[in-house]
Amino acid sequence: MADTASGTFTLVITGAPYASQAPQTALGFARAVVDAGHRIDRVFLYGDGVHLASVLCAPPSDETDWPEEWSRFLSEHSIPGVACIASALRRGLVNQAEQKRYELPAANLRAPFEIAGLGEWVEGRMKSTRTLYFHAGD
């Protein structure tokens, strides 16, 4: 049986905010991981999950701002947040480097999220005690 005294986690979010509940459930889980004294190695956004890293979401003021909540949580706890580059480019999520490379009119990646390849997920899968996925759940 795994040692439950301490563990490290990679969290993969594949559901988008305002389309699925995935970012909300993942945040509740992530906060509990930190509260219990465990470590989150990284949060990896994949597929539609990359929309969580958008800096341009403007939800109604009486709704939770999930991208804002997530970026604050990641910053506070110095947890790396990574959006998969292939998912992000197809879905219109770019940082300044990609904006330049593809000659796009703007960048919309929210700090502290970064863009990187699936290797980040592979590393998490190999090194973290547990890798959990938060999918859309129709």
Binding site: A2, A36, H38, F134, G137
Partner: protein
């Protein structure tokens, strides 16, 4: 602490084809944790083969199912974290 082989986390509604696939692969030595729309299983006649069924409280409350948990154990995110470490492996359906 009971030994759990696999923790199956199911967030799909009972109608979703993946819900049936999940339930078909749960063994008696596994645990099932219902989250999101997965908690709607509580309101149906479908019964998983394992006795270790957990449901995520905030999702149960949102859907007005507080009175229908039956033999399932309502847990919070802290217990979800413990369960995920306690189990030998986790499948997020």
């Amino acid at each position: 602490m009971t030994a759990i082989h696999t923790l199956h986390i199911l967030n799909k509604s009972p109608e979703h084809p993946r819900a049936s696939r999940c339930l078909a692969t749960v063994s008696p030595e596994d645990a099932l944790l219902l989250t999101g729309n997965g908690v709607l299983l509580l309101s149906t006649q479908k019964k998983p083969v394992t006795h270790k069924v957990f449901v995520l409280s905030p999702d149960v409350d949102a859907r007005g199912l507080g009175g229908m948990t039956g033999n399932a154990e309502a847990v919070g995110f802290a217990e979800m974290v413990s369960l995920s470490l306690q189990a030998q492996r986790v499948i997020s359906w």
